[in-house]
């Protein structure tokens, strides 16, 4: 079943590329402004062996993963603390609901002036944007831990901390992981946007903003976009695969329940 889905996806991508190619080749769109898909893909392939470009990709990935990792650690810890008392949990969810709608992108100027190093400022923004989805998932998961499982360990004499580590954390882990996966896509958008807006030459976004200057090089612009998309796709696929492997028990449980 997974193979047929993969095949279907490949057909879809190939179809979309073919349509993009045709639209340009038939003259429906100006080839000067939008190069044909084959040219864009060729550029993207060239960039994959270009050391300078790969260093830029590396820069983006470092900021992205750094912020995501920090956010995961902070959100899980914060989630555990905020779940320790029911009143605290209610208060926390209210605060989260108020703060969460502030878009991380609106904070870009603030981050750029408050941090001495650009990459620190970007990491802070990614951290901010990534914390919410992970924190929210952690809070809800911890609230919904099966009380019977907790009572079982308590009845065998395990204390509060042991119950937290041996029941609450593992049973919340699949939801935390989903939060991390959602946060990863949010984080990528934030890093690339920050790089674009900062106007430097750093990272995937910096490359994009440079290919825009001097009349623009649309083939490089689009190839850069393809790369940014691929990064998101690959990381999402890896995280999904890890979730499937690590949380087989969770999938089996939800399948049995439905």
């Amino acid at each position: 079943m997974r193979h047929s889905r993969l095949a279907l996806g490949a057909v879809g991508v190939a179809g979309a590329v073919a349509v993009a190619e045709l639209v340009v080749r038939t003259g429906l769109v100006d080839a000067e402004a939008v190069p044909p898909a084959s040219t864009v893909l060729r550029r993207a392939a060239e960039m994959s062996v270009d050391g300078a470009y790969l260093a830029q990709v590396g820069q983006t990935v470092r900021v992205w993963f750094g912020g995501l990792l920090l956010a995961t650690a902070a959100a899980v810890l914060l989630g555990l603390v905020l779940s320790s008392a029911p009143w605290l949990n209610r208060a926390a969810r209210l605060v989260v609901e108020v703060l969460r709608p502030i878009p991380a992108l609106a904070l870009i100027p603030l981050a750029l002036v408050s941090f001495s190093s650009q990459s620190q400022g970007r990491t802070a923004l990614v951290f901010y944007a990534c914390t919410w989805p992970i924190l929210i998932n952690t809070l809800y998961a911890l609230r919904d831990v099966d009380p019977v499982a907790k009572e079982t360990l308590r009845s065998f004499g395990f204390g509060k901390v042991a119950v937290l580590l041996r029941v609450s954390l593992p049973s919340s882990a699949p939801f935390v992981a989903t939060g991390v996966r959602i946060a990863a896509s949010v984080g990528l958008v934030v890093v690339v946007s920050t790089e674009l807006i900062a106007g430097g030459a750093d990272g995937v976004g910096g490359f994009l903003s440079q290919s825009q200057t001097g009349g623009g090089q649309p083939d490089y612009m689009l190839a850069g976009a393809v790369w940014a998309g691929l990064l998101g796709l690959v990381v999402n696929a890896v995280l999904t695969a890890l979730e499937r492997r690590a949380f087989r028990w969770h999938l089996a449980g939800t399948e049995a329940a439905t």
């Binding site: 079982t152 009845s155 065998f156 004499g157 395990f158 028990w249 089996a252």
Partner: protein
Amino acid sequence: MSENMLEIDGLTHSYGDHTVLEKMSLRVPRGELVSIVGPSGCGKSTLLRCIAGLVRPTGGRVVLDGTAIDGVPDELAVVFQDYSRSLLPWLTVRDNVALPLRRRGGSRAERRAAAEEALTSVGLDGAGRKYPWQLSGGMQQRVSIARALAYRPSLLLMDEPFGSVDAQTREDLEDLVLRVHRDEGMTILLVTHDIDESVYVGDRVVVLGRDPGGVRAELPVHLPAPRDQTTTRAHPDFVSLRTEVSTLVRGAAAPTKTVVHE
């Protein structure tokens, strides 16, 4: 020191304004196997939770080994009615059984060996490497029984522990409980909705009633030992006792006065 392992005095418990147990009292001598029967919703599970220290009763007290309990007592194990929710799905069956043994010390290998032994005793040898969700309901229920037995508690609380197993396995498990009780001298409280079972395994049958929840009758069981699935169940005393318990349980669904049979 008192002869009784467990003394329950004036135990009252309410969920909000719904009073489930009202001023109930019960004495359990050390080493006794008490069967508890009663209509559903009369507070059997609530009673076990109070004894296990998982729920703080709204009134009265539970005294274990001469000390009023406050929190979960040591040396106690519970087989929960919700057996499938009581097993941890991310641990293998063997690790589920071995987990509580951490509090007993011993090496990892020793804990695993004890877990395998307990699994064998409930007829689950070879299932240790599986995960709980790969097993049938009846097998999961046996895992939770194995976990409690491996812990070797001095007080074992079992809440409808054989509800999901087939008839043959059920008889085997009843005999296993009788054997463990005899060999290790555990004090056991076993909640069941099967009246024949309550008489077959019990040294005493306690009938609980509803509205208000409390003890309606206590019947000592004097059947020849060792008990045997075929001969015991055919014994005239067994037949008359099960009829009596059955009548009491049916009566217990409606409010009545307490009857004590001696």
